[in-house]
């Protein structure tokens, strides 16, 4: 009897959840579908869902006309470059805060977090000016630098919460056995820290890839990543739905795939360990 009720409830749950999930996901699905249509089919009334002549020509045209690969390359350099750089700077900092905590550690961590809360628009002109003076405007180097700095607090925080979960006793034991600081780091800590570092890197690549304030304001033609490339479709060109969809699909596909792997880290990373 009770079993039957739970079975019924499970069916209802499944139906409701799948329906809502489909609705939430629909804009993405629709974009991907439209990217395989011709421009005429993309705006046909009534809309066509699956039964159209699938074509890849939009992808070819987007690449040919606007050199999509260049924007993709800029996105990769900026997202990966800033994440790697940020991680190299953050690992020692997070390591020392997790294993050699002092009275000030908490204050430093909270202060780092507070720099993340600084609204970008409040410092837009100073950064713009510094970029002009240093010749960094519309360069990948400049954007990697900014992206490293804005994500540094998140990287330090995430690494810190992961490192803190590594039991301190293991370090003590290694020290007793006469391990030097270097041995400690290479043979004991690194293997245990790798999963945490990997998750941190993953989430930060996603954040940097999607960042759309500095990338829009500090780049023009040369260093523009995909965020800026897509923004250029807000002109009448965006009315070519099939091409807009192809460009969009290519811009979101890599990160969607990475994102699905990082769901768990997302919660920890974006709540600074406040929700686990």
């Amino acid at each position: 009897m009770a079993r039957e009720i739970t079975q019924k409830r499970k069916i209802v749950n499944t139906l409701v959840a799948w329906t809502i999930g489909f609705l939430i996901f629909f804009p993405i699905l629709w974009t991907v579908l439209t990217s395989f249509k011709t421009e005429a089919q993309a705006i046909s009334d009534p809309p066509v869902f699956l039964f159209f002549d699938w074509t890849l020509e939009n992808y070819a045209i987007v690449q040919e006309r606007s050199d999509y690969a260049r924007f993709l390359w800029n996105s990769v350099i900026i997202a990966v470059g800033s994440t790697v750089l940020g991680t190299i700077i953050s690992v020692p900092a997070a390591w020392s805060m997790a294993f050699v905590p002092s009275k000030k550690t908490k204050d430093i961590l909270l202060w780092m977090l507070s720099t993340k809360m600084l609204p970008a628009v409040g410092v837009l002109y100073p950064i713009y000016l510094i970029f002009i003076e240093l010749g960094l405007l519309d360069t990948k180097v400049g954007l990697v630098a900014v992206m490293t700095l804005i994500n540094l607090p998140i990287i330090v925080w995430m690494l810190y919460t992961y490192f803190r979960e590594i039991p301190g006793e293991i370090l003590e034991a290694a020290r007793m056995d006469g391990a030097t600081l270097r041995d400690e780091i290479i043979h004991v800590l690194t293997p245990m820290a790798i999963p945490g570092i990997a998750s941190t890197v993953l989430l930060n690549i996603i954040l940097a890839w999607n960042e759309a304030f500095w990338t829009l304001n500090l780049t023009a033609a040369k260093a523009a990543p995909l965020t800026a490339f897509i923004a250029s479709y807000s002109s009448p060109e965006g009315l070519f739905y099939a091409k807009l969809s192809a460009a969009s699909t290519m811009a979101i596909a890599p990160i969607l795939i990475l994102g699905w792997f990082s769901q768990k880290q997302l919660v920890r990373g974006l709540t600074f360990g406040a929700v686990k």
């Binding site: 499944t14 409701v16 959840a17 799948w18 809502i20 999930g21 939430i24 996901f25 804009p27 993405i28 629709w30 009334d45 953050s90 805060m97 050699v100 002092s102 908490k106 430093i108 909270l110 780092m112 507070s114 720099t115 809360m117 600084l118 609204p119 970008a120 628009v121 409040g122 410092v123 837009l124 002109y125 100073p126 950064i127 510094i130 330090v156 600081l181 999607n210 759309a212 829009l216 304001n217 965020t227 897509i230 479709y233 807000s234 965006g238 009315l239 739905y241 969009s248 811009a251 979101i252 990160i255 969607l256 994102g259 699905w260 769901q263 709540t271 600074f272 360990g273 406040a274 686990k276």
Partner: protein, 288 residues
């Protein structure tokens, strides 16, 4: 215990991150403060001298200030309301037993990974376009007049676009919090005859209160600086000019740096007020 030697090593290891962030925070902040007290028009004469609090007074008394505060509050408030209410409901739903939970979770979360410029443009052109958008087709199918979403209902449209991106975030965090709830407590309540509503009100909601606060504060900070969604849709017209967008226009479009910087100082103060509350919660958690 940590030795003197490891203490100084630790300090050295922290130094690069601390120094970089200190520079990143202080240099632009001081420059913004400096500009905010100057009449500074890079394209029309450059630095025209000190003006005291003139920029602050002019920024606040300009006719676009209060509408921008209103737009900001409506967008932030609207998105928070939608994402928190729906987020709790969806998290409760996802916590129930069902088939294909893993796949459904992925469908729910996906929008958070979409580039803001992509989501804004897809919504603007493919859904909200009054001629070829999917909504227009839908409206016509029911014999209704298609709506010019981004001009006639600009604020709700922007709120929808932004909520679509942040609802998954709220759902995911609230789901994580629900899953950490002790199921025995719920079963005990059920056996004592507590109705589902009572169980929600007396056990689940109190348990979620901290996660809800965290979502509220983090989203507020991000939402106060929403930019791309407005940049590629309305460009701040039709009542969607938020404080962030207004400052952006003053600084980069009309190149009135003094005025924009004064606005920037307001934005920084506003964000800090929210940040203080968030830091308190995060700090408490750090002690635990």
């Amino acid at each position: 215990m940590a030795t003197q030697h490891s203490r100084s090593a630790a300090r050295l290891m922290m130094a690069p991150a601390v120094i970089l962030l200190l520079g990143w925070m202080l240099v632009p902040l001081i420059m913004t403060l400096y500009f905010s007290f100057k009449k500074y028009l890079p394209l029309r004469g450059g630095d025209l001298g000190w003006v005291g609090f003139d920029n602050y007074a002019r920024f606040v008394s300009s006719s676009s200030f209060w509408p921008s505060v209103q737009a900001t509050l409506l967008i932030v408030g609207g998105v928070l309301l939608i994402t928190l209410v729906l987020g709790v409901l969806l998290a409760l739903l996802l916590d129930q037993p069902m088939w294909g939970q893993g796949v459904v979770r992925i469908l729910f979360i996906a929008p958070f990974f979409i580039m803001p410029t992509v989501s804004a443009l897809v919504w603007k052109n493919m859904f909200m376009d009054p001629v070829n958008g999917l909504f227009a087709h839908l409206w016509k199918a029911f014999g209704a007049q298609p709506v010019e979403w981004l001009s006639e209902a600009s604020l709700p449209s922007i709120i929808l676009i932004i909520s679509w991106r942040w609802l998954p975030f709220a759902t995911l965090i609230l789901l994580t919090a629900i899953q950490s709830l002790d199921s025995e407590q719920l079963e005990a309540a059920e056996m004592d005859g507590a109705s589902p509503l009572a169980r929600f009100g007396h056990i689940i909601l109190p348990h979620l209160s901290r996660a809800i606060t965290v979502v509220l504060l983090i989203q507020t900070i991000f939402l106060l600086s929403v930019f791309a969604e407005i940049f590629v849709t309305t460009q701040g017209s039709f009542g969607t000019r938020t404080l962030t967008y207004l400052i952006y226009q003053r600084v980069l479009e009309s190149q009135n740096v003094g005025l924009g910087s004064a606005g920037g100082v307001f934005a920084i103060i506003l964000a800090n007020i929210v940040a203080i509350f968030l830091m308190r919660i995060v700090g408490k958690n750090l002690d635990a």
